[in-house]
């Protein structure tokens, strides 16, 4: 076989590949091809019912009329959870608005250990109103799903466990509509600006 024949063969292959590409590109798109359908966007938030620190059902309707910052945690998490909560309470004070300017809502991801009484003790540490909610495993699972939140138990020393979880703070306006998030990696300035926007002027 000489070089010329090989070259012709290779060019034939290139031609075939180009033709195949053209056929694929010109194939008519199905009319219902979802490119960007607003209906497929995941809605964050929505109504929920959990359990308040008094042990009674707490409906998200009670949050209506005031913006709120909601995040997930568990009371036996001594490191990041209290830091997040303490930061929110500090920023609320720094914004110079009253405790009524926006509500701070903590939802437990540890229904096994976080009884309403445990939530009450925990919320009481911050010296400012914090709405601390727990609930049945199913109710909490539902709220986690509404916010796209992940949590998973990890074993700790002595048969204990800890919980890995989404540490994002969700900001919702007075109509309960999701507006923004605050990530734990974000600095105070960015977080303060978002809260300022949330509570309006």
């Amino acid at each position: 076989m000489n070089i010329g024949k090989i070259r012709i063969g290779l060019w034939l292959l290139v031609g075939l590949a180009a033709l195949a590409g053209l056929v694929i590109a010109l194939r008519p798109m199905p009319a219902d091809a979802p490119i960007a359908s607003s209906g497929s966007l995941i809605e964050i938030g929505g109504p929920f019912t959990l359990t308040g620190t008094d042990g009674k059902p707490f409906s998200s309707e009670r949050l209506a009329g005031k913006p709120f910052a909601l995040f997930f945690g568990f009371t036996s998490c001594p490191d990041v959870c209290p830091t997040t909560l303490a930061r929110l309470t500090r920023l609320r004070t720094e914004l110079g608005k009253s405790d009524e300017s926006f509500a701070i809502v903590l939802v437990s991801v540890d229904p096994e250990r976080d009884t309403p009484a445990a939530m009450a003790r925990y919320a009481g540490l911050f010296g400012t109103p914090v709405i601390a909610l727990t609930g049945s495993a199913a109710a909490i699972e539902q709220v986690k799903k509404q916010f796209g939140v992940y949590s998973a138990k990890v074993p700790a020393a002595g048969g204990d466990y800890l919980i890995d979880h989404t540490a994002t703070v969700f900001l919702l306006d007075r109509a309960g509509k999701f507006t923004a998030t605050i990530s734990p990696n974000e600095g105070d300035d960015a977080a303060r600006a978002k809260l300022q926007r949330l509570i309006g002027n």
Binding site: P78, T83, A118, L125, A156, D164, P184
Partner: protein, 139 residues
């Protein structure tokens, strides 16, 4: 006298291993107390040779262990630290919120703000160092 013995021990250690003895001090210790658990943060300042913090005990108040919080995207993960924390020669190691820390679980009683907790830090080379860490609320 005690200092002289320490110095002698340090000199001997250096002589035996060929590595300078560690001299780790603990500063800025603070306990963040919650109703059933607590986190402890501190800075280790080593003005000698390398060492390793193997474990921390808080026997009077609960079960202490070395832990590390890390962010994986938006997910906070917490794991026990196996094998301790290296303290480099003439180095500084900070245990702080959202990173490496001591976690105390199963508190026998809630820790009062303003009280202090006795902790024993166990080092691979330097041995035990006892400290009293003041208790504060979450911040």
């Amino acid at each position: 006298m005690k200092a002289a013995i320490s110095l002698l021990a340090a000199t001997l250690l250096t002589a035996c291993t060929g590595e300078p003895a560690p001299l780790v001090t603990v500063s800025e210790a603070t306990v963040i107390a919650l109703p059933t658990s607590a986190a402890v943060y501190f800075t280790l300042i080593n003005s000698g040779g390398r060492d390793r913090l193997l474990s921390v005990g808080a026997e009077e108040v609960g079960k202490a262990s070395l832990h590390e919080t890390s962010m994986d995207g938006d997910i906070m993960r917490m794991r026990a630290i196996d094998g301790g924390i290296e303290v480099p020669a003439r180095g500084r190691v900070r245990l702080s919120g959202g990173g490496r820390h001591v976690m105390i679980q199963d508190l026998a009683r809630p820790l009062a703000t303003g009280s202090s907790v006795r902790l024993t830090l166990r080092f691979e080379r330097q041995g035990e160092v006892a400290i009293n860490a003041p208790v504060g609320g979450p911040r």
